[in-house]
């Protein structure tokens, strides 16, 4: 009996020793992994020490902002403000002001006035906290187009439609601009001109940004509805809900969306602390971003930063529902172009010649 007991105790001792050895191996290999991968261990330590360690987890589990209750929205905003204030060492506000009612925002740009100075681009970068050197993101791209590319006869613009006859008002189009292209071709255009002085008299300048389509293909392409159109007609993104699949980028005919391939490079001293949840708040790695018509400004009745920065007044912004707005007046009185009409996206960004 006592022998049996002794054998059992020996076996139990073996078992304990085996388990102990196994645990030792596991601990040693885990420690080795952390030593070999200093970046990961550093990140873990940094996350644990940083002030926002807890809010990051809360953010990870938060839902789509549009579907949140008022209380959840408040909490989400508070988390972001705390995190940005700590990260950029300046008091940062994140607004969630809703889009105004009775408004459909539209934008118009006078190609004959634009001098290609790119001040709109720089103002946009500063206002909207876009990533700087090394990982440059710019929501506006200015194209330089040879003036020879424009071809239409203004006198014949309204001509060339089938005229009524005793046989009816159908038939083929003749005359007018029917036999020669009416408009401006972007053939031979370049985006990365490095001219010392602008404008070059032989060129047009065409700034391109999100066209805020009324029927946006990017919204249809998003598998998680992170991008959506608000009731003022502006296409927005919930950066926290975006999964970074880039389907919207593929769907956009204007390629106006930009992806954060890495952690954005936004120096604390350049950070604009007045932000909006759907607008210019600092983005993170792996999410999409684009022009929002400066939602943080326009929802408060101000003009977009690009418009304010334009030294020649080439940009007009306003409410398409208001016949007295600048954009409606442009549509009523100027020669307006349609761009990539074939996609049927109904952009609310119009190019015109004054």
């Amino acid at each position: 009996m006592s022998e049996d007991k002794n054998v059992k105790m020996e076996e139990s001792a073996d078992l304990n020793e085996g388990r102990r050895e196994f645990l030792k191996y596991v601990c040693t290999s885990s420690a080795a992994a952390l030593v070999v991968a200093p970046e990961s261990s550093g990140a873990v330590v940094e996350a644990a020490n940083s002030a926002d360690a807890d809010v990051t987890v809360a953010e990870f589990f938060q839902g789509h902002f549009v579907l949140m209750s008022d209380e959840e929205k408040k909490q989400a905003i508070a988390r972001l403000e705390k995190r940005y204030t700590a990260k950029y060492a300046k008091k940062t506000t994140v607004s969630d002001v809703a889009a105004p009612d009775g408004v459909l925002f539209g934008y118009a740009l006078d190609m004959s006035k634009c001098i290609g100075c790119r001040r709109c681009v720089h103002a946009c970068v500063e206002e909207n906290n876009q990533s700087r050197e090394g990982s440059v993101i710019q929501w506006i791209q200015v194209m330089k187009i040879p003036k020879g590319n424009i071809s239409f006869s203004a006198d014949e613009l309204e001509k060339g439609y089938p005229e009524k006859s005793k046989f009816g008002d159908y038939g083929v189009q003749v005359g007018g601009n029917a036999y020669h292209p009416a408009g401006l071709s972007t053939e031979g255009a370049q985006s990365y001109y490095q001219d010392e002085t602008v404008p070059d008299k032989d060129f047009f300048y065409l700034p391109v940004q999100c066209q805020q389509c009324e029927k946006p293909p990017c919204v249809k392409a998003c598998p998680v509805r992170a991008t959506f159109r608000d009731h003022a007609g502006v296409v927005l993104i919930d950066y926290n809900w975006c999964i970074g699949c880039r389907m919207c980028q593929l769907a956009c005919p204007y390629q106006a969306r930009r992806f954060n391939w890495g952690e954005p490079n936004l120096p604390a001293e350049d950070m604009n602390p007045k932000t909006h949840y759907f607008g210019n708040r600092p983005r993170m790695r792996g999410v999409m971003e684009k022009c929002t018509f400066c939602v943080q400004r326009t929802r408060e009745g101000r003009s977009p930063a690009c418009l304010e920065a334009c030294p020649v007044g080439a940009r007009k912004f306003g409410n398409l529902l208001d016949p007295e707005s600048d954009v409606r007046k442009v549509l009523a009185t100027k020669r307006v172009f349609r761009f990539k009409e074939e996609f049927g996206t109904y952009p609310k960004f119009f190019y015109y010649i004054g």
Binding site: A32, L320, Y346
Partner: protein, 86 residues
Amino acid sequence: MTDKENSRRSFFGKVAAAVGVVAAAGYAKTLISGAESSTAGVGEKYANDATQQEKALMGNRLVIMTDAEKTQRLDELLNCHYKELS
């Protein structure tokens, strides 16, 4: 009577240790090479996005609209807007 060196338990212990070491090495390699490749190619990827936009906009035509087309376009935009609100 168990031979401690050749027991099944010690064999599994060695296997588990070997798997642990290989997994840790693989994990470390992924972290290191992943960090290297993500920093090296990032600049190119940003530039590539901008180039893609340039390509997408090249060879297109801005077509001038007649008065009728402008009116039609505005009507469609407003109709679409009001339909969505209703």
